[in-house]
């Protein structure tokens, strides 16, 4: 039910806001990387849905946890079944605002660095996130990139005793959104 509410809100944000300029992608990417001396783990989800209001700076993205692509089936199975519990918590969501969106001239090709703040929800746990993003505007489209750090323990990711030491306490997360004007 909560997932349907989030999606409805996303759709409403996407389709009902007629005055502001909307940018959207269905092929955004979120990658994470965990490094320890015992093991490196990386995965990426290339089907992240995101919308951005270029006037207000309000942005949101949502993704399916099962959409993370690992180098092999076993890693993916461990992630979905043991850590992320993806069947129980199928979606992750970020809602935030670019606080200085006016710095971006979406009509002029260029590179712009902006700040954002928002809330990331994973496994029904919501935490505040702040960061900087780089927008590359080219030909009316905009590619936004940002790096954040996420602690799995903050979001109730259960690390089994056998995997302690193999999974970093803090994951590096890369966000790449290839926005196109709606």
């Amino acid at each position: 039910m909560k997932n349907k509410f989030i999606l409805s809100a996303l759709l409403a944000f996407t389709f009902l806001s007629v005055k502001a300029q909307q940018y959207m992608t269905k092929t955004g990417t979120v990658k994470f990387f965990s490094h320890t001396t015992l093991e490196d783990i990386k995965a990426e989800n290339r089907k992240v849905v995101s919308v951005l209001d270029s006037k207000t700076g309000i942005m949101e993205f949502t993704m399916l946890m099962k959409g993370f692509d690992f180098p092999n089936d076993l890693m993916e199975q461990h992630f979905n079944e043991s850590y992320a519990e993806s069947s129980k918590f199928p979606k992750a969501n970020f809602k935030g605002t670019i606080t200085d969106v006016a710095k971006i001239n979406f009509a002029k090709d260029g590179t712009y660095t902006v700040n954002y703040t928002g809330k990331l929800t994973l496994k029904d746990v919501t935490k505040d996130i702040t960061g900087t993003a780089t927008f590359v505007v080219k030909g009316g489209s905009a590619t936004a990139t940002s790096k954040i750090k996420v602690k799995p323990s903050d979001y109730n990711f259960k690390i089994p005793a056998t995997a302690v030491g193999k999974i970093s306490d803090e994951m590096e997360v890369d966000i790449i959104m290839d926005y196109k004007k709606k």
């Binding site: 999606l7 269905k26 092929t27 099962k66 092999n72 076993l74 890693m75």
Partner: protein, 141 residues
């Protein structure tokens, strides 16, 4: 008796080493199961798959999530994203579609495809956001 114990010890050691090598191999070797080789494919049209997901997400997840789906429909869009093709199959519903991320091994075949043609893709179902999402898809003959 000592000889038997020594033999048993060696046998256990060999099994343990073999198990360790197997786990390491499975964990660190890149690769996934080929969906085309699955014997449990579920055949469905893009129209029906999207319709079921958009109306009954929980039930559809129970039936299709993680399953190998053989989905057919008309190509609505073909997009190249970070060296991977994404094919959108028309669901005949303006609110969403079936979006299939293709296996990079099929990149050459993708160049032959055009919007509007009817195709059959086989891949793993991830669930629904705006569109139903499938990944590691391959073009079925």
């Amino acid at each position: 008796m000592k000889k038997k114990i020594a033999l048993l010890f060696v046998l256990i050691l060999v099994i343990a080493v073999a198990a360790l090598i197997y786990v390491k191999f499975a964990y660190f070797t890149e690769g996934h199961k080929d969906p085309l080789k699955s014997e449990d494919k579920i055949n469905i049209t893009a129209k029906k798959l999207f319709s079921l997901y958009s109306q009954y997400e929980d039930s559809a997840n129970k039936m299709y999530l993680d399953s190998v789906i053989s989905v057919s429909g008309n190509i609505q869009n073909i997009e190249l994203n970070q060296d991977r093709y994404t094919i959108t199959l028309n669901s005949e519903d303006s609110s969403g579609a079936v979006i299939c991320e293709m296996d990079v091994k099929d990149n050459e075949k993708m160049k032959q495809l055009k919007k509007g043609i009817y195709i059959n893709l086989v891949g793993y179902c991830n669930g629904i956001l705006i569109d139903v999402q499938l990944d590691r898809c391959k073009l079925a003959d």
